[in-house]
């Protein structure tokens, strides 16, 4: 049965973000012959709309006031788009913006949101959303007592689709006032590859023993190649102050799905695995053969990483 799905998009350098394209892919699978709407806000939004493959309709505002995300401004725009269409389901990325928008939008529309979903299905009129809970120790499935159903979706849970962009573009109002004042913004030094884009991620955890363990892991990254490999970390390593928070992979950090994930001195807490279980191959380098990471890894190397990683670097260089 056709369903109308509204996707709350995000722009990244003037183009729909990778997660926005994944949400549109998910929406196409769900909508059948229904409408797939996409909301795009900020400078260049209407120019980016045609790149929203899978959408039948776009709701855009090019007001640059939307560029620095402020929840109250975005909520008014999304509510305006919902008033124009008739959505059965709203999909939002589990991003910094989406974490705020999901619950606030649900409350404004008198409905509910399921956060950080990995699956959303329409079961003959019943929306079912599936998501990890208890840090990934459990999988919870929810239904909705109210409409529209809203889900924030974990990045890399769905595939993007190819095809045409929206046939219709409807203008949304400008941003208007905000109760949040942005005092300053500090973009992180944009050096090299983003964690989400890397084909190989080398992550360190508490088992490194000290911050300088990351210097050794960086050598491994350099050996594999900075054009395809990048450093990551567990929350324990971040909380110990050994590395930048921007490197954190996991439930409260970034979600990656590389070809190869090398976990060094990481025990495999569920909240960390929530951020990397989409990797095609996971290698665990750990002293403890019984660590939970071994439940997720394809290959385990048991021993002292300080001895194994230099040999790994040598073996990679040698071949």
């Amino acid at each position: 049965m056709p369903r109308n799905v509204l996707v709350v998009g995000e722009l990244n350098d003037g183009a729909p973000s990778a997660t926005t394209r994944e949400l549109l892919g998910a929406a196409c699978g769900i909508a059948a012959s229904g409408e797939v709407g996409v909301v795009l806000l900020g400078a260049g939004a209407s120019a980016a709309a045609p790149a929203c493959a899978g959408a039948t309709r776009a709701y855009t505002s090019d007001d640059a006031e939307y560029d620095a995300f402020r929840g109250d401004q975005w909520l008014r725009a999304i509510v305006a788009a919902l008033d124009l269409g008739d959505a059965d389901l709203v999909l939002i990325a589990q991003s910094t913006a989406g974490r705020e928008l999901g619950p606030r939008l649900a409350q404004r529309r008198g409905t509910a949101v399921a956060m950080d979903c990995t699956q959303v299905v329409d079961d003959g009129g019943t929306w079912r959303a599936t998501r990890p809970a208890y840090g990934g120790n459990a999988i919870a499935t929810y239904t909705f007592a109210t409409r529209p159903a809203i889900a924030t979706v974990r990045p890399k849970s769905f595939a993007a689709v190819e095809g045409d962009g929206p046939a219709t573009i409807t203008a949304l109002p400008g941003a208007g006032e905000s109760r949040t004042r942005i005092v300053s913004r500090e973009p992180a030094a944009a050096e090299g590859l983003r964690l989400e884009d890397a084909r190989v991620v080398v992550s360190g955890g508490r088992g490194l023993g000290a911050a300088d363990g990351f210097a050794l892991l960086q050598q491994l990254v350099d050996t594999i190649g900075r054009d395809r490999a990048v450093l990551g970390a567990s929350r324990a390593a971040v909380d110990l102050g050994w590395c930048a928070q921007s490197m954190q992979v996991g439930l409260t950090g970034r979600v990656v799905a590389p070809d190869l994930y090398i976990a060094v001195g990481i025990s495999g807490a569920s909240q960390h695995m929530s951020g990397c279980s989409g990797a095609r191959t996971i290698i665990a380098i750990n002293r403890d053969a019984d660590a939970s990471i071994m439940d997720f890894a394809r290959y385990g190397v048991i021993g002292d990483y300080k001895q194994i990683v230099p040999e790994l670097i040598a073996a990679l260089r040698g071949g």
Binding site: A68, A112, R185, D295
Partner: protein
């Protein structure tokens, strides 16, 4: 300034996966024997944020609120021992088996009843369900501005200033008060109460309020009022087919691993 900390008591998230059990009939987690319920870690960090504000000035007061059963008083006492001043336990059969919306409804009514609240500090999410909704819905219900995912919180004239992570960078934002702040783990480790503080906390007042005290309709609370319905809670399936890379020396292990990855065409 009157600060409120919202605190939730949960099964210990450090419970090893091997001891994690679910009762399929009730869709509830079975607490591991011998492991006590704990204060959700992010709520401890929210308490730390409130305490730093309290210590940064004079005349500040902290009230800690928890919604739960009688045992949730332990979570309240922990935040009192950290340095909060008063506790409120929201306890009523009508609150049970609700969702984020019904929980926020009860918390909002309690905050209105307190009357003079300036800042509410919530953890960014509870470490059991990981939804991260209650603080945001609370802000909507109160119609207060919200500063989510704070890595630091300061009181400024007429408002709060919050530094938070956004995408690949950081931003510093300000909102007027009253406001809700949700606090992230980067703020720092919550302080550990010492014995004299734990003793002193035993003397601090904790009041218990139910739905009637809050003037709330039980039909809109708990299981009767929920909008999001948990249908099934299950254990995830795991790979569990790890292959250990053999070798008598680290060099042999490394060589075997690289050979395997090349055979798999991963490298």
């Amino acid at each position: 300034m009157h600060l409120v900390v919202c605190a939730k008591q949960i099964p210990d998230p450090e419970t090893p996966a091997s001891a994690f059990r679910i009762d399929a009939a009730t869709n509830r987690v079975v607490p591991a024997p011998g492991l006590p319920l704990v204060l959700s870690q992010f709520d401890g960090i929210a308490a730390e944020a409130a305490l730093r504000i309290k210590e940064g000035g004079t005349g500040h007061k902290i009230t800690v609120i928890s919604l739960g059963e009688e045992q949730a008083a332990a979570a309240i006492k922990q935040v009192l021992a950290m340095g909060a001043d008063e506790g409120v336990l929201l306890r009523d059969a009508a609150f049970e088996d609700g969702d984020s919306h019904t929980t926020a409804t009860a918390l909002a009514a309690a905050i209105r009843k307190l009357g003079d609240v300036d800042v509410v500090c919530c953890g960014r999410q509870a470490a059991d369900w990981d939804m991260g909704q209650v603080g945001l819905i609370l802000a909507e219900l109160l119609d207060w501005p919200v500063a989510p995912l704070a890595q630091s919180v300061e009181a400024v004239a007429g408002g709060v200033r919050v530094r938070r992570g956004v995408g690949d960078g950081f931003e510093t934002i300000e909102t007027s008060t009253p406001a809700v702040v949700t606090v992230s783990n980067e703020l720092g480790t919550p302080r550990y109460p010492r014995l004299p503080q734990i003793m002193a906390a035993a003397k601090k007042p904790i009041v218990t309020w139910g739905a009637t005290d809050l003037g709330l309709d039980p039909a809109k609370l708990g299981a009767a009022g929920r909008r999001l319905v948990l249908e099934r809670l299950a254990l995830p399936t795991k790979g569990g087919n790890v292959r250990l890379i053999e070798g008598d020396t680290p060099a042999e292990q490394a060589a075997a691993l690289v050979a395997q990855l090349r055979a798999d065409r991963v490298l």
